[in-house]
Amino acid sequence: MKRIKVSDISKNNEEQLLHIKEEELMQLPYIGEAENKGEPVKPLTEKQQAGFEHSLDGVSACTIPKPKDKEEEERFVRSFLEGLKKLISEKDNWTFLQQLLLSLDSCAKCQTCNDACSIYLGSGKQDIYRPTYRSEVLRRIVNKYIKKGGKIFAKLTGSDVDLNWATIARLAELAYRCTMCRRCAASCPLGCDNGLITHELRKLFSEEMGIAAKELHDLGTVQQLKVGASTGITPPAFKDIVQFMEEEIEEKTGKKIKIPVDKKGADILLIHNSGEYLSWLENPEAFAIIFEEAGISWTLSSELYGYEGTNYGVWYDDIQFSRVALKHIEIARKLNVKKIVVGECGHATKALVVIADRILVDDMNFPRESALPLLYDLVCNGKLKLDPTRNNFPVTLHDPCNMVRLMGIVEPQREVLRKICPDFREMEPHGVDNYCCGGGSGFAIMQSMNFPDWRSAVSGRMKMKQILEAFSDVISPEHKKYVCAPCSNCKGQIRELFNYYNVNEKYGIYYGGLVELIVNAMVDIEKPFIEWDWH
């Protein structure tokens, strides 16, 4: 395996630092030649190669166009340096400055955190995917170009990264090779947060240079602020979906439910990731069935911004993040509900409940919580009539990083599964030590060029391994198996993974949320709610 040095990032040429090869990736159980498609990541076409930066690892997540001339190159470097100065200034970056400086300062170069990273391990330990690599590049740039006397002491402090177009373009791509699951941060004995450094780099690129993954910015937060949802669902379309949900619920369960929409003064405003309405309608349906059964006073919102829980800003841009979070609060205030409850979506929950906490003042500081504690209460305190034998198939749980490691919501979902799934088994490791699904920080929705291949071959590889191992005693496809992932983005990633490795067909593994399992166990519903059709 070729070793890649930190300073290699500043080779000012088009030479690719890493070529991803099947034989170097981490081994997977059960996955044989057939599923391994030779080349794990499709090379870019010649046209793509000519047009876009790909000299990091042959993958393009951000579609950064190559510079036309020297002047454009220089402008790029100047703009980066400008941004870097803002990144370490109180005014422009009070939001994370303290944490950033501490993390830049505190790394002891012990490399302990690398073994915590699912991408580094999945890649077969490629140097550029070390959590420390990206941070070290930034640290050396700061030491050399920002600190006083940096260039004079560069040799002693080992600050050997040169700033040029290629360095910065590779660094921008590298900021999209980490899911910010912060497993590395949790494993650092000195409190250095390499995940945060990814976040800060993305922010610099977005807020100063206008560089971000298209799916996060143009098709993400910008679209959300324009039409109401990053999926493009508009308020009238949403109302149609709700009507369709009511019809489908009746068809599936015989229950006639009127889903409350825009009900003023309800106790709870429930917000889902709007991806659920497009890809997994059974999830918001299950929520509706459960809430109605339990007699909860709740409502959905059909207002612009009110039916979309996502906040992609949390992954790359504090300003877009704040804008979206404020919209969510405004909707809840207008409806005069008692609190916002966020459905099964990790980043949406963490963004609104936790991170937004320190931008909300006065009346905007509105009560917000995750749906998981409520579901726990309903299931474990006997508020629903459930028959666990209806879930008599093997179930494992994927812990969404955002809700588990990053919010400390560890037990409610497992308590529910222990109660309603007789064959519940943990994957290893789990809980706050879980591995990311590989779709975190926006990866699950990013579709640029060959990025999806990389996402499945490298960043989701560890999760694939964990899932296969969790079911190793029942691996043959006649046993239908269920991966419970109470998070829309994780589900999106798991869907892609299962397609890539063909594990649904070969091993009979399905995936879905938590509420579907709860409804599947409800005694007064005749037909199984989980239909085991692949989607």
Binding site: G83, K109, I319
Partner: protein, 293 residues
């Protein structure tokens, strides 16, 4: 030469104190950041209406901090081979710090002639632990493919100076003071009580070098990881998990921060406006309004 040693020594103490205080003030005055914790287990968010529940248990945090520092337990759990040498070194350093504290107190509180050799054993053991640990760290930093990666040249020099400091200290106690506790205590006493100025101005090489090396470490301290760890734990104890309560001090701080002006250059951000304005007044081209209505 003698007065230079005295000036450097007291100068370095002053530098260290000022450096520590300046860094502390700078850190404490830094704006509070957005909430961004991670958890090692269940948190308050597992409860419904968590905002009505008891928030932080300071004692739990303090306990965890003490265990981290005393045992370097994160390294123990995550990087055992490195921990083994790191811990020997730290145990040695902790014991040496305590030993110095004892030495200074004992020199004025105890009759030197009655001092037992236990003090000597303590000092030598601590020095030996730190030396063996430090040497182990240096060897690992040279030979281990992971530990030498990214390790800057300056830090190799640091370890050589560290080992030399420890060796020289051992030499001074064992040979210059003849391994005699009474002699050592008497010497320290004259230093602490400013008894023999003549001696201070004409220090023998063994103690002069020790003082000079100590000065280097005092100057280094404000920039070392000890300071950073202090800041980190300070931050952890003071800010982590502290919610923004209506009308509370956190809200007050945030309101001020929302008034800072923004100068980012990307097209979706209005330059020169405040954070609060930028977040609430979305530029026209971003919000074409209810496109679907």
């Amino acid at each position: 030469m003698g007065s230079a040693v005295v000036i450097i020594f007291y100068g370095s103490i002053l530098f260290c104190l000022v450096g520590v205080v300046v860094r502390l003030i700078k850190f404490i005055k830094m704006p509070v950041h957005l909430k961004w914790e991670f958890y090692k287990g269940s948190s308050i968010y597992e409860q419904m209406e968590w905002w009505t529940k008891e928030q932080v248990n300071l004692w739990e945090k303090v306990k965890s901090t003490i265990l981290d520092v005393l045992l370097l337990r994160e390294y123990y759990h995550r990087n055992r081979p490195f921990w083994s040498v790191l811990y020997l070194f730290h145990l040695g350093i902790y014991l040496l710090i305590l030993w110095h504290v004892w030495l200074f107190i004992a020199s004025v509180a105890v009759e030197p002639e009655t001092a037992s050799t236990a003090g000597l054993i303590w000092g030598h053991t601590a020095t030996a632990l730190a030396f063996i640990g430090g040497l182990g760290i240096l060897i690992k930093r040279i030979t281990d493919s992971e530990l030498k990666l990214y390790y800057p040249p300056l830090h190799y020099i640091k370890w050589v100076v560290m080992l030399f400091t420890l060796l020289e200290a051992f030499y001074a106690v064992q040979y210059y003071f003849d391994a005699s506790m009474p002699a050592l205590l008497k010497y320290v006493k004259t230093q602490v009580t400013f008894g023999d100025i003549e001696h201070k101005l004409h220090p023998p090489p063994a103690t002069a070098i020790h003082v000079l090396l100590a000065s280097i470490w005092l100057i280094y301290l404000p920039f070392s990881h000890i300071m950073r760890l202090f800041l980190r734990y300070y931050h952890y104890l003071v800010y982590d998990d502290v919610p923004n309560v209506k009308g509370g001090p956190m809200e007050h701080k945030i309101r001020k921060l929302l008034g800072l002006s923004v100068s980012w250059s990307a097209p979706h951000i209005q330059k020169g406006k405040t954070w609060g304005e930028v977040a609430t007044e979305i530029p026209k081209e971003l919000s074409k309004g209810a496109a679907g209505k």
